[in-house]
Chain length 391, copies 2
Amino acid sequence: MTAPASSPAHSPAPTADARFAPLANDRFLRACWRQATDRSPIWLMRQAGRYLPEYVATRARAGSFMGLATQPDLACEVTLQPLARYPLDAAILFSDILTVPDAMGLGLSFTQGEGPRFAQPVRDEAAVAALQVPDLERLRYVFDAVTLIRRELAGRVPLIGFAGSPWTLACYMVEGSGSDDYRQVKSMLYGRPDLMHRMLAINADAVAAYLNAQIDAGAQAVMVFDSWGGVLADGAFQSFSLAYTQRVLMQLKRTHDGTPQGTPVPRIVFTKGGGAWLSQMAQQLDCQVLGLDWTVNLQHARASVGENTSPGGGRALQGNFDPAALFAPPAAIDAEVQRLVSQFGRPHQGPGAGASHIFNLGHGISQFTPREHVSALVESVARHSSAIRAT
Amino acid sequence: MTAPASSPAHSPAPTADARFAPLANDRFLRACWRQATDRSPIWLMRQAGRYLPEYVATRARAGSFMGLATQPDLACEVTLQPLARYPLDAAILFSDILTVPDAMGLGLSFTQGEGPRFAQPVRDEAAVAALQVPDLERLRYVFDAVTLIRRELAGRVPLIGFAGSPWTLACYMVEGSGSDDYRQVKSMLYGRPDLMHRMLAINADAVAAYLNAQIDAGAQAVMVFDSWGGVLADGAFQSFSLAYTQRVLMQLKRTHDGTPQGTPVPRIVFTKGGGAWLSQMAQQLDCQVLGLDWTVNLQHARASVGENTSPGGGRALQGNFDPAALFAPPAAIDAEVQRLVSQFGRPHQGPGAGASHIFNLGHGISQFTPREHVSALVESVARHSSAIRAT
């Protein structure tokens, strides 16, 4: 089944969202739609994070991670922090993928050094039967944060909203916390696939409603993080992750106000460890951008899914600098950037949609990253991606 | 660069190792060389392990993991335990990949619940400069175990020796323990590639000498575990893992006694998370078998590297059942086995070398695996892989 990515090319100028200032830097959104840009846009997964002392300070004031996520003024503050330091081309909502299962009543907490934990993991038929798409009012704090951030951004760069994929949420919901073997969730998947399918359908509908509410609140692009898709076996990935990410995408509003005249809202899907399934993602997912982790060769990815001529109509590619390379000195970072930019090659950006690269890391930035190395990265990306367009 | 896998097909009957009984079940070795077998051979990574109560009992007598690994009689005992329960087609030496860096003087210990730890991790130029290929006498306990196991097997099934890949050893040597971000080792890789290359060269030569000594002691096949190859970025994998695995393979004895007339010793390479690089492995590695984790589609792997017509001359494929599927009931295990056997398809086993599948898990068996589910797996593999040969 092929679902060509819809494109706003050749459309009349869309109706903007009158609540907010016009967008000054549209490099990221143009690249999502594979339109020409002067250089590759760059943003960093987890760019508002612990490597920034100002983030650590705000987090301390909030008292806890969820305290930070649930107070829109503080979530707005940390979302904007990396933009004050670095000339990034997009902001991403500060939040967590687990807000959705928390709103389902599973009792989320973050323990120091141990990560997230659910008081009520979903382990049996009764627990699955009790699951429901949550009342979105319980997530009002997220939508308020989106609107506030969008106002505070004042059109500098676009704001990305996000959610976890149905499968990735299910991993946490069943395991009750992080896991290194996914024993509980895979036991359910292999032993009671009926329960797993029911949970994934509810998760998909919840994620779709959640992302639509973020779009209503002002998100200018949305991203689905399938952080744990890569732990699935071939076959299981297609049935238990890909199919439900597709179910999310099918329900999403295509424009900021849901009308054909509204500003289009591009959709990004990132499956960590999903390089083997890139062609299938391009064929089955109605999204504009595919995120790549660092194991993927950009040249191969472009050839297989990055061009208009590929099955499914081509996708913009986002990624995939190894976050650990940011521990190396700036000269080594520069060489690595140059290698990636050359590997993707010169973007093809004709009057219609071409091939484009959104520079990002292959995973979230590490808390141990030296801040000046991020400056070096951003500077190198601007320089090399401009230069390759001049060749 | 293409290094076709050498094959013993059409050779005169090789000279066997007169120290040991002739081999009764050669299904595994024949499949390594892609020769015809009545059904797919099966063995399980970590088959001598904590899911077996008899293993837990022997481990308790030994006092510690290293106590078990360093006493040949106990290592022999646990190696044979799974064969007494299940009709497996190969034994694998009970040992640990970290015996080699331990012999280099890094001070290995296993802490309860936390895994391996080195007292002296290799973090700077001086530590790298001090590294040497260890005196193999310090690993005598391993070779003694190989010879003892081989005697005790009395020709029932072949014995596989093994070692960690140079890169995987380097991960532990630099991190000093397991890691979830590989920060130290990747900092060295990106920041001081000269040091990393020096360490990997020494590791490769040490691993080659170690595997050759296992072959001398009686190992009938050898396997290189590149357990952490999959954490590397594309590009880095080729330079820092693949190249050094190749350096190991190039130095290995081709036959049990190193003469052209001796019994050939097949070589297996398993890179967890390496599915994206399968073609490059087949082109560059002089091995007979490639191991696959569960994310790889067996049909695609066979088409790209499993046939004689593929670049590099084709490889037997080993894997790739998701170990977590063993938590499911026997009927679900059977369906999953049937799916994998069908996905690989009917082996092509002509008079020369064809395409063959060695059934295994995609990673080590979990300590939580119900023992009767392993029986179900072995039975299902025999049934379905026999049946597909009759089609």
